[in-house]
Symmetry: C2
Subunit: 264 residues, 2 copies
């Protein structure tokens, strides 16, 4: 069979969200995601809080506070109108972060695949969440009550340090993002986005591969461009001989040129 389009992950997303059953290759790809074993607790905390493994005491403290629940496909995970009194993380699954507009549609700004934080910051400021979030598939969500956690941080300073580092990383990432939105045009942003998702092929180095795990329209959303513009840019890069696109697989033929495109 061999369809030209490799694993169109985009299609199932909406259908899944609409409660429509999945079949075929798309479903297989998505199911593969689900099959990925839920991260063990230790792995979860390491992925969320970074580097070195936590001490047993620290891990135990988190376990005691953590409340895990499952969010069905299409359901809301965070709401801007709800007060944030817990830190929210995604253990497994995919969640779209963005904004629910007045007319009920959802404008995706970023897609998160577990394990990762969904909202590490809002609870500390006493405000509501900054973004809405919607499960793209069955999602395991972990919540840590802020008040109780704060009390435990006093006992386990190592945890406080982890939280600080996590927030600091988030600040850095957002600062870079802001800079790029302010000063880079669409081609540069796309080149940058592709470049930082390159998976090297065992080759000596100038070639690579980027696998798109989301619909192209969602990629466009993250880059603050329209799907049409994304399509045109892909074609433009292809004409320049920098990439080759087949469906959801992008072959990077010249990583150096790609990096140069990302500069301006």
């Amino acid at each position: 069979m061999e369809p030209r389009y490799a694993a169109p992950l985009g299609t199932p997303v909406l259908r899944e969200a609409a409660g429509i059953r999945l079949a075929g290759e798309a479903g297989a790809a998505l199911r593969a995601t689900q099959a990925k074993a839920m991260a063990s607790d230790a792995e979860l905390w390491r992925a969320l809080l970074g580097g070195a493994p936590l001490s047993d005491a620290e891990a135990g403290a988190l376990e005691a506070l953590a409340r895990t629940h499952t969010v069905p496909t299409g359901q809301g995970v965070l709401s801007r109108s709800a007060a944030a009194d817990t830190l929210v993380a995604l253990r497994s699954g995919e969640v779209a972060l963005g904004f629910r507009t007045a007319d009920g549609t959802f404008r995706t700004e970023r897609i998160v695949r577990g394990p990762a934080w969904l909202d590490l910051s809002s609870a500390w400021t006493g405000d509501t969440h900054v973004m809405d979030a919607q499960a793209l598939g069955p999602a395991q969500v972990v919540e840590l009550p802020r008040a109780a956690l704060a009390a435990r941080l006093a006992v386990h300073p190592g945890l406080a340090q982890r939280v600080i580092e996590g927030l600091a990383r988030e600040v850095q990432a957002l600062a870079v993002n802001t800079h790029e939105l302010m000063h880079k045009d669409a081609p540069a942003r796309l080149a940058q986005w592709l470049h930082q998702r390159c998976e090297p092929v065992d080759d000596t180095g100038n070639q690579a591969v980027v696998r798109l795990h989301e619909r192209k329209r969602d990629v466009a959303s993250q880059l603050a461009i329209t799907p049409e513009t994304l399509s045109r840019l892909m074609r433009s890069f292809t004409r320049q001989g920098v990439i080759e696109v087949s469906g959801y697989l992008v072959r990077v033929l010249d990583t150096v040129a790609l990096e140069r495109l990302a500069q301006a």
Copy 2:
């Protein structure tokens, strides 16, 4: 003799800093900035770390670590090429945060007036600073060594909590900023910017005043537009009867209309 443009930034600001008088209303608005006295230590920490006053022990711990030094006008404060091993705050003065370009010019992205953090996040991640920074006038800069501070946080959990809250606020602000850059056009961004700097006049409420503490080109920088566009937008708002501009003083005639302009 050094030429007047030795420091490439902010002529009115730098002139003011050099003790040169500005005439007219513009000068009056800008001069108000300089009059602000240096914050006391207690005020400094409260401004940086938020709400409730710190305990004596906490304040003492910070004092013991803090290293204050003065940066002369035009000098660099942070550098993207330098490893960040301290948290950096501005006690008093004005500093431009942005990027030094290859050709030596400085692209301002944000202007900070003390007391405020200049870089609360970089030191925790072990990377270099995310932005360059340059003093617009004589600036008192406070640095806290990260390693030593981390050790003290274990003893004073309250401080760790403050740092977490500070970082969380920064994340929230950046997230809002990113959202606005992605989804709002230039008029909306300007309206938003003006609206959140409104100083109410004792009137019943629909009128207000915005004092520009920086050159209009720096305001434009913060909004990611050109000075020309800013000028045209100001005129456009004026024609709509929403604001009245005279020099560095903006009178807001209709805050409701301004808020509406900020929506789209």
